[in-house]
Every structure is written in structure tokens, then in C-alpha cells.
């Protein structure tokens, strides 16, 4: 049998012709009986007009979908925040909220770089992005908002989202109070100590307690770490010495005050006394984070810690049921003995400059800080946000008796002599990392506090200059 072959060129030619003919046919007016169509159209118009007259047709709501990203991944937080978004959608049928997690990793940065950021994002420090012009300035929105105004938060809360005097982040989702201390009632009483009277007021007292009551086994491993600090938390040290590392007015970091060297020396002495690897080994088994099951407080292997935050109240209730804890003002350096200070800070929400629906994102922000959303977030996640409305009447959101110790934190904002803010500056992540390196070098005896601070100062100055130049 002879096969009839079609050459490829021929096939392509006919295909092209066919496609062109189909396109032209599609563009051509339909051949219909014009008169008939006219009649039918008239009849339909009549009917439609009659229907419209009797039944008002609901105008179709054009729905806009906005993307909202946050960092938390634990199911409890994801479910809570998704629930808040669903409630927002109920109240705002013209907006649909699509949620995702960025885990505070490079995802958000990459999306911003690609020009496809979410419409709204949560983040710890908006400073780095804001300083580089990636975020929308929110002052105009605040000026036109009926829900959020400059009076909605105290200044310390605003500072967290403010860079170079302009607001880029709105405190929301989790932005309350921390930098205190936590003590285990059981372990303190075992040593004949009372709480809160015997909690350390200064770092010197803290050192003395840790030295006296820390226990080890025969191998030298720590079995009871009486107390520990978060040596990488630059913000905590700021409260201890009473100085901001970053001076927003001058636009520079300043570690020249001798007190910085003193607290670094104290930190070095503390860890050299405990053994740096012994402390890390202890925490690899017993986490400092009270949200982690079998953390050091829940397992009764740690009695004291500073800094500490309001979130521990709910977390210890879940991870250490039946155990009692006491929260109190952070210990400070000797020259500040007796100063009651706390810090407000945490998370903000912000709108990237390239967001497609900034207005709708703003409406979601307004809902996130409403009493209804605050209540949902607290009940679901235990997170609080220090809005002025909440502070004026915390009872509308918080059941003080639900978690023992919560009252201290809520009242602390009103009773403190000093309320500090995180005042992030343009390079908070970089500065925090280099602070950690400075602390490590002192702890390991590789540098004196003065040398470590001089190097830190040089690095942050250089980096601030780089960012400013950009």
C-alpha cells in the first residue's frame, strides 16, 4: 500500500492557513436573522425591566484577594491568625485574605526583591526594610484612619515601627512587654528564699545567687542551673545599663560608655564561672524557651532567668502545670538599683511598597488591632498587643486570673519608671549579630571587653555608613 506523505513544510503551511481562517471566522459578525433578533431582544428587555422593577438585584461585590504573611509556624498560632482573617472576611466581604508563613527567613526579602511581595506582612524589625525604602510610609493612612491614630499606642510602641522619624510598622499581633525576670517559687523556697523579695535586683546579686545555688554532677555537668541570661539580647543590656545602643537622633550606635564594658566583663565572668560549653550543653537538653516541652523551668532544673516576657505566663501554664513562678522587674546595673524598667516591643505589621492592594491591607491592619481581634488572638495564641484602648481597659481582652502572673506584666507598663522601646535603627539584625560575637569573644577570653566593643563599634559604624550611602 502506498503511503501518502505530507511534508512538514506543507503541514505547517496548511495549519497556519487553518488557524488564520478560524481566527477570521471568529471575528466575523454572526450571520443571524436580524429582524428576529431585534424582536427577541425587545421582549427580553421588557421582561428584565419588569423584574428589576419588582426585585432589587444585589450589586455584585467585586472581591479583592490580599496576601498576608507572618512568621509563626506552630499550628496554634497559624489557626488563630487564620481564624482572625476569616472573621475579617465576614466583616469585609469585598476582601479575601490569603495567608502564608515566611518564618522570618529570606522568603519575604526574596519576594520584595522580585517585586511580588505580600500586601501585608508581619515582621520583628521593619527597620532594615524601611531604611532601604522597601516599605510604605503609613503616616498618611494613620492621618485618615478612624481606628488608628497617634494616640492608639504609647511612644515606646510606636518606636518599634519607626525609622528616621517615619512610621512604617504598626504594632500588632504580638507586641507587648518584656525584659523582666522569672523565678521558680518551688526552687527558691527549697533554698529558704522568698519571692519576689529575694529575686536579684542587680546583676551583682544575680551572679552571687547563680554561683551559690548552681549544682553539678560528678562529671561537672550542670544539673541545676540556678540562673541564666540571654547574652545575645542587646535590648536587655540596654535596660541594664540604661542606655540605648542606637541613638536615633544621631543616627549612630554608641558603645563608648564604660558601663557597656562593665556589663560585658560581668557576662564574661558569669560564663567563665559556669563554663560556656557546660551552659550550652545544659540548654541543648533543657531549653530556655518556656514554650518548649520539658524546658528548664518545667523540668525544675532552672530557677531564675532574665530577660523574661509576658508570654511565659501562658507558656509555663501549659508546659509546667502545677508549678508556680514569679515575674518581676529586670535586675539592673548597680548604679540603677531600684529602677523599675520594662520594654515594649515585639512584632509589627507593614505594607511593602510594591503591594498591589495597600488600601485593603490597611483595612486588615485596622481590624488586627481592634478589641475583637485582640481578644481572638489572646484566646488562641496568648499574644497581646499594647494598644492604648487595651491598656485603658485590659479586662475587655484579658482574663487576669486565667494565667497567674499576667497581672504583673499588664500593670508593669503603667507602673514602670521607664518604658523602653526596641528603637531598631537601620541595621538591627547586623548589630545584634555583631553584639553576639563581641559577647562570645569576651566569654571565650579572646578579647577584653574594651577590645570587643571597639571592634563592634567599628563594624556597626561601617555598616550604618554603607546603608546610609546606599
Amino acid at each position: 500500500m502506498q503511503q501518502q506523505r505530507v511534508s512538514r513544510r506543507r503541514f505547517l503551511r496548511w495549519s497556519l492557513l487553518g488557524a488564520a481562517a478560524t481566527s477570521m471566522a471568529a471575528c466575523k459578525p454572526q450571520v443571524v436573522e436580524k429582524e428576529v433578533v431585534k424582536e427577541v431582544t425587545k421582549e427580553v428587555e421588557k421582561m428584565v425591566t419588569q423584574v428589576v422593577e419588582v426585585t432589587p438585584v444585589p450589586t455584585k461585590v467585586e472581591q479583592v484577594t490580599i496576601d498576608f504573611w507572618w512568621g509563626w509556624t506552630p499550628e496554634v498560632h497559624v489557626n488563630t491568625l487564620n481564624g482572625v482573617c476569616r472573621r475579617f472576611e465576614e466583616l469585609n466581604p469585598d476582601i479575601k485574605v490569603q495567608t502564608a508563613q515566611h518564618e522570618w527567613g529570606p522568603k519575604l526579602l526574596t519576594a520584595i526583591a522580585a517585586g511580588t511581595p505580600p500586601d501585608l506582612s508581619e515582621g520583628g524589625w521593619p527597620g532594615e526594610l524601611a531604611a532601604r525604602g522597601a516599605l510604605l510610609e503609613l503616616e498618611p493612612y494613620i492621618a485618615n484612619s478612624k481606628t488608628i491614630s497617634k494616640e492608639s499606642y504609647n511612644q515606646a510602641s510606636w518606636d518599634v515601627g519607626t525609622v528616621n522619624g517615619k512610621i512604617y510598622g504598626i504594632p500588632a499581633l504580638e507586641q507587648f512587654v518584656y525584659e523582666g525576670q522569672i523565678g521558680s517559687v518551688e526552687l527558691y523556697e527549697k533554698e529558704g528564699l522568698k519571692l519576689p523579695d529575694d529575686l536579684p535586683v542587680t546583676l551583682g546579686e544575680a551572679m552571687a545567687q547563680i554561683k551559690t545555688y548552681t549544682r553539678r554532677n560528678d562529671a561537672g555537668d550542670i544539673t541545676l542551673l540556678w540562673g541564666d541570661i540571654d547574652r545575645y539580647s542587646l535590648y536587655w543590656y540596654e535596660l541594664v545599663v540604661g542606655k540605648h545602643a542606637y541613638n536615633a537622633g544621631a543616627g549612630a550606635y554608641d558603645f563608648s560608655d564604660p558601663l557597656w564594658a562593665e556589663v560585658l566583663r560581668w557576662t564574661g565572668n558569669l560564663y567563665q564561672m559556669l563554663g560556656p560549653d557546660k551552659v550550652d550543653a545544659f540548654h541543648s537538653s533543657f531549653s530556655q524557651w518556656t514554650s518548649v516541652a520539658a524546658n528548664s523551668f518545667a523540668s525544675g532544673t532552672q530557677a531564675w532567668q532574665s530577660p523574661s516576657g509576658y508570654w511565659e505566663v501562658g507558656e509555663t501554664a501549659k508546659t509546667a502545670p502545677g508549678k508556680q513562678f514569679c515575674w518581676y522587674w529586670t535586675p539592673v546595673w548597680e548604679n540603677r538599683r531600684g529602677v523599675k524598667c520594662v520594654q515594649t516591643g515585639g512584632h509589627t505589621v507593614f505594607i511593602p511598597k510594591a503591594a498591589k492592594h495597600p488600601d485593603q491591607a490597611w483595612r486588615l491592619i485596622e481590624f488586627l488591632v481592634s478589641p475583637e481581634a485582640l481578644k481572638m488572638i489572646f484566646n488562641g495564641s496568648g499574644f497581646l498587643t499594647a494598644t492604648r484602648a487595651f491598656l485603658d481597659d485590659p479586662g475587655q481582652v484579658v482574663d487576669f486570673y486565667k494565667y497567674p502572673g499576667l497581672r504583673f506584666w499588664v500593670d508593669s507598663l503603667l507602673q514602670a519608671d521607664e518604658v523602653w522601646s526596641e528603637a531598631p535603627g537601620p541595621i538591627p539584625g547586623f548589630a545584634a549579630d555583631k553584639w553576639g560575637k563581641a559577647v562570645d569573644s569576651v566569654v571565650l577570653g579572646q578579647a577584653t571587653p574594651e577590645q570587643a566593643l571597639a571592634e563592634l563599634q567599628r563594624l556597626v559604624d561601617e555598616e550604618v555608613a554603607n546603608v546610609t550611602k546606599q
Binding site: I112, P276, D280, L444
Partner: protein
């Protein structure tokens, strides 16, 4: 051989059929080609450009010439980072090669359950890195880890594997050795390729097992040693995953390797230009090491049939 490498005519001298064949070939490999260009060539060339700029990912890059490279040379953290990476290269890679080679030699023996043992030795290398890292995290835990529990039961002091600056790198080397199934398989294949006739001839000449090993086995597997050494060095300079998951560069920066520091600069400090320059410096170093190894290989690598 020479015939195969005969020079092909230039493209414009090709026949129409040859051009059609080329087009067909390119069409068939186009998915890979597109992927290569989009995900390897373009990013690599971009990073070369970014290396000469101050680029924070968010704002447009600004040309700084060799500024980033100068800064790398002045960076006071670089000596520590390089020390950490060189430690892994000079101690970790030889250790991994040695363990892999000994495992391969052992598994090359005739024994019962040989296939099962070979599979068992190879399995760790196909376990997802994150999963195995989590298992190691618990195995090496100071207070509750299996290894330390055993040490305690023998009245030995516990070892702070991942929490001590002096133990963190050896611990990562241990994990690398455990996951070196791929290296072991290459050695095994190479060992199986050593002709029995060479051993027989050596025995006839009076060689004992030790002499056979040093003068027959080792020379015959030197191509595999060279290959594994090169791949091991390239890998170790890019060490990231285990260090990031297990220690996040700690304790006390003891596992802050070159790739970890590069990642921190790129995505934590938003210094993509600097990180790109670091990546190209790494490329140059790895290239230099590779070329140096190739140069020396003529002296110690024996290619069977090379002189035939």
C-alpha cells in the same frame, strides 16, 4: 582516539541534514538547556556582576568596583571562617576518605550478608539531610543522647558534642563520615575493578597481603581517591546544611563555615553584593585547589591503560 577528535567543519559548512540533526538535538535537550541557563548560567553571571556592586537586594545595585573584594580581605571574621572551613578540609575530608575506603575494603571481602551490609552502609547517604540532622541532634545530646548515655553507663564523662566549640567540628566530621555512602560506593567499585591477575602475579613474586595492599590495591584505586578527594574538598568548602540545622554556626561561631557566613551576609545582613563576591572568591579558591590537585595527580595517580 585521534580519529574521534578530528576537527569538525564549521557550522556554515554543515550540510542541511546536519543542521536539522543539530536542531532536533537541541530541541530534545531544550528543557535541560533552559533550566541550565535560567537557574545556573544567569544567576552565576548575575552574581559576578553583583560582586562588584553594593547590593542589598531591595535597592538597585551600586557599582563599587573591587570594594567588596577588598573588604573580604579586611574582614576580621574571615580568618575564623576560613579556619573553620580549612579544619573541615584538612581533617574532615581525609577522615571521611579513610573511613569510606576502609568500609569499602571491608565490604569488598567475601562474607555472609555482604549485600545487606553494603546496603546498610549506603543508606545514610540517601537519608534526607534534615531528617538525619534531627536524629543526630538527639544522638549527640549531652544529657539525654544515646552516645552520652552509653558513656555515662560506663562511668565515663559526657561529651558536649554540639555545645562545645572544641567538639562541634569533630562532631560534624563524624556525621559526614556516617553519611559518606556515595564515597564508599565509588571506592568499592574501584576495588572491584582491580584485576585479580595483579594480585596473583604479586603473590608469585612473594608479596604478602600488606605489600599487595600498598603496591597493588592503592595504586589501582588512586583515580577514585583523586575523584573523591576533589568532590570532598568542593563539598566541604560549601558545608552549610548540617552546620545550619545542628548548630546555626555556633557554638561560639565554631561551625561558622564559609558558606554559612556567606548565607548570613546575603540573607540576614542584606549584603548580597558582598556575599556574591565571597561566592566568587570561593570559586577561585576551589578552582585553584582543583587545578593544583590535577597538577600533582600525574605523580601519584595511576591510570590503567593510559600509556597503552
Amino acid at each position: 582516539m585521534r580519529l574521534l577528535l578530528a576537527r569538525r567543519p564549521a557550522l556554515w559548512q554543515w550540510t542541511s541534514q546536519e543542521r536539522k540533526d543539530l536542531a532536533k538535538g537541541l530541541l530534545f535537550i531544550s528543557p535541560w538547556l533552559i533550566g541550565l541557563v535560567a537557574f545556573t548560567v544567569y544567576p552565576a553571571l548575575s552574581s559576578l556582576y553583583y560582586g562588584f556592586t553594593r547590593y542589598d537586594i531591595v535597592q538597585a545595585p551600586r557599582w563599587v568596583g573591587l570594594g567588596n573584594y577588598e573588604q573580604i580581605l579586611r574582614d576580621k571574621e574571615m580568618p575564623r571562617v576560613l579556619y573553620n572551613s580549612l579544619y573541615m578540609a584538612l581533617i574532615g575530608v581525609p577522615a571521611t576518605l579513610l573511613i569510606s575506603f576502609l568500609s569499602a575494603a571491608f565490604l569488598n571481602q567475601k562474607m555472609r550478608w555482604r549485600s545487606v551490609l553494603r546496603t546498610g552502609a549506603f543508606v545514610p547517604s540517601v537519608v534526607p539531610v534534615v531528617a538525619s540532622a534531627m536524629v543526630w541532634l538527639w544522638l549527640l545530646n549531652t544529657q539525654f543522647g544515646l552516645i552520652n548515655s552509653l558513656l555515662k553507663s560506663w562511668s565515663l564523662p559526657s561529651i558536649p558534642f554540639l555545645s562545645s566549640p572544641s567538639w562541634a567540628k569533630p562532631s560534624l566530621i563524624l556525621i559526614n563520615c556516617w553519611a559518606s555512602g556515595g564515597t564508599m560506593i565509588i571506592f568499592l567499585a574501584s576495588l572491584q575493578d582491580v584485576p585479580q591477575s595483579l594480585y596473583d602475579a604479586a603473590k608469585v613474586d612473594g608479596a604478602n597481603a600488606r605489600t599487595c595492599f600498598w603496591h597493588v590495591t592503592i595504586p589501582m584505586v588512586t583515580p577514585a581517591i583523586l575523584y573523591n578527594l576533589l568532590i570532598g574538598l568542593i563539598d566541604v568548602f560549601q558545608s552549610f546544611t548540617f552546620a545550619w540545622i545542628l548548630t546555626k554556626g555556633g557554638p561560639y561561631s565554631a561551625t561558622e563555615f564559609y558558606a554559612v557566613y556567606l548565607y548570613q551576609n546575603a540573607f540576614q545582613f542584606m549584603k548580597m553584593g558582598y556575599a556574591s563576591a565571597m561566592a566568587w572568591m570561593l570559586f577561585v579558591v576551589v578552582l585553584a585547589v582543583t587545578l593544583a590537585l590535577f597538577r600533582t595527580s600525574a605523580r601519584w595517580v595511576y591510570y590503567r591503560g593510559a600509556n597503552e
